[in-house]
């Protein structure tokens, strides 16, 4: 067991875990943040996506020791004070969630994408979400929701009502 500390969704946590434990399991079992899902467990499906030091990562492929000292953001960190994040609102509006297993990862991947490209093109959205698989195959509605978060082409989103997720550097 190794003592590991990190900040997740603005809260400092210290856990005792085997250093090769997956960040995914530590988030779910030690921090009880069960919004992060396990899909394939091998970095193909993106269900376990979280932000680590401002970068999107698959938490199933992060040995927890490598998260020591990191700043993390999970799906639980997207909403604030009972107010949904803009991305969550647009997912709801567009019917972008079906069974919901891929949704947390999709939203984190969308968040990472929108930080890089505030007004992403459909091509950028497709590439940005290529690592997130939806087995209900509701991709088009997911892409529509992300496009509506952008300040560009869709033009329907008001950035003013956006609530920022916890800062991850």
């Amino acid at each position: 067991m190794t003592q590991i500390s990190f900040v997740v969704n603005g809260e400092k946590k210290t856990v005792d875990a085997p250093p090769m434990a997956r960040l995914l399991d530590v988030l779910r079992e030690h921090c009880h943040l069960t919004g992060t899902k396990e899909g394939c467990g091998e970095g193909e499906c993106g269900s376990c996506s979280v932000m680590m030091n401002g970068e999107l990562v698959n938490s199933c492929l992060v040995p927890v020791l490598q998260a020591d000292g990191a700043t993390l953001c999970t799906i639980e960190g997207m909403a604030h004070d009972g107010q949904m994040h803009l991305i969550q609102k647009k997912f709801l509006e567009c019917g972008a969630a079906q069974c919901g297993i891929c949704t947390p990862g999709m939203i984190l991947a969308a968040h990472h994408l929108l930080e890089k490209y505030p007004a992403p093109t459909m091509e950028q959205i497709r590439e940005g979400l290529a690592g997130n698989l939806c087995r209900c195959t509701g991709y088009q509605r997911i892409f529509d929701a992300v496009e509506k978060c952008g300040t560009g082409t869709a033009g329907t989103a008001k950035r003013g009502d956006e609530i920022d997720a916890f800062e991850c550097e």
Binding site: E42, G46, P63, D68, A130, G131
Partner: protein, 292 residues
């Protein structure tokens, strides 16, 4: 079956010096792990034999991209995202940026490193064909010092590499002389995103008049390791391209590769397709008026 993680040890010295000292004190005992995109998958499926690991993530001395007038140097710890963001790579070494963009998803590109891609030594890896075609040199370090090795000599056989147990891949050096070259890379996979290649081929060439004055070809999944296609190169180097020389290059390539049947494709398909790609590239080069 999933591995029991409590059986595994992972240490993180945090500095290059600390890592090299551990490798020197206990050669071969610790398996280096950078972004975990390979090692953690092996752990997940219960196939990670090595029980002791040493973390390279966060070792700042390994994560850099810098240039001199003549050379671009990429630290082994540079991620695929770092490579995709670099302006010099985008301009002068577009095949490398393209290969990086093909490697897994954005989340994998944020964690996977160039060094990991090379040292993992998969014959199907995305970046090696481009590195071979760019005539890269690798820099290897240990507590004993450092040495340079032509990248084409780094792969010795299936998953066999020219690293001693106390050594670490430090960086890749690429000469900055290809900005005006004809450069092409093609990957054939099951789908565009995330697929591991059935076969891939990179070519970097120059013509003097109609004669091919410089050519380097790198292939993935054509042999038991990333492979520099020297026979195909020799078939056209110093010659003008025409139907006959292109056919001889095809024959030379077919003769030097030995692709296998596996879960992703068949040897026969791979041989046919990689020869077709070479013919396409050489035909394009023959008609190319820009790069000479």
């Amino acid at each position: 079956m999933r591995s029991n993680v409590s059986e595994y040890e992972l240490i993180a010295p945090g500095t290059l010096k600390g890592v090299l000292q551990t490798l020197a004190d206990k050669p071969g005992e610790y398996l280096p792990v950078a972004g975990g995109t390979e090692v953690m998958v092996m752990l997940g499926v219960g196939r990670l034999a090595q029980k002791k690991l040493i973390s390279l993530w966060g070792v700042k001395e390994l994560r850099f991209i810098r240039e001199t007038e003549t050379t671009l140097t990429i630290g082994a710890g540079a991620t695929f995202t770092d490579i995709r963001k670099n302006k010099i790579i985008a301009k002068e070494f577009p095949l490398l940026a393209l290969a990086a963009s093909w490697t897994g998803s954005i989340a994998n590109q944020n964690r996977g490193t160039l060094g990991g891609n090379i040292v993992n030594a998969s014959p199907a890896a995305d970046t090696p064909p481009a590195l071979l075609a760019y005539d890269a040199t690798v820099e290897i370090v240990s507590a004993r010092g450092s040495r340079m090795l032509e990248y084409r000599a780094f792969h010795k056989g299936y998953k066999k590499i020219a690293l001693e147990p106390d050594e670490l891949l430090y960086a890749v050096h690429i000469p900055r002389r290809f900005a005006d070259s004809f450069q092409r890379l093609r990957k054939v996979g099951t789908r565009n995103a995330m697929a591991i290649s059935k076969v891939a081929l990179a070519i970097v060439a120059k013509k003097t008049g109609d004669v091919v004055s410089e050519i380097a070809i790198g292939g993935a999944s054509v042999r038991e390791m990333p492979y520099r296609c020297i026979a195909a190169e020799a078939a056209v180097r110093g010659k003008a391209l025409n139907a006959a020389t292109i056919a001889s290059a095809r024959a030379a390539l077919a003769g030097e590769i030995a692709p296998i049947d596996d879960i992703r494709s068949t040897g026969r398909y791979r041989a046919q397709v990689v020869c077709n790609i070479l013919e396409d590239f050489l035909t394009e080069l023959q008609n190319d008026l820009q790069h000479r």
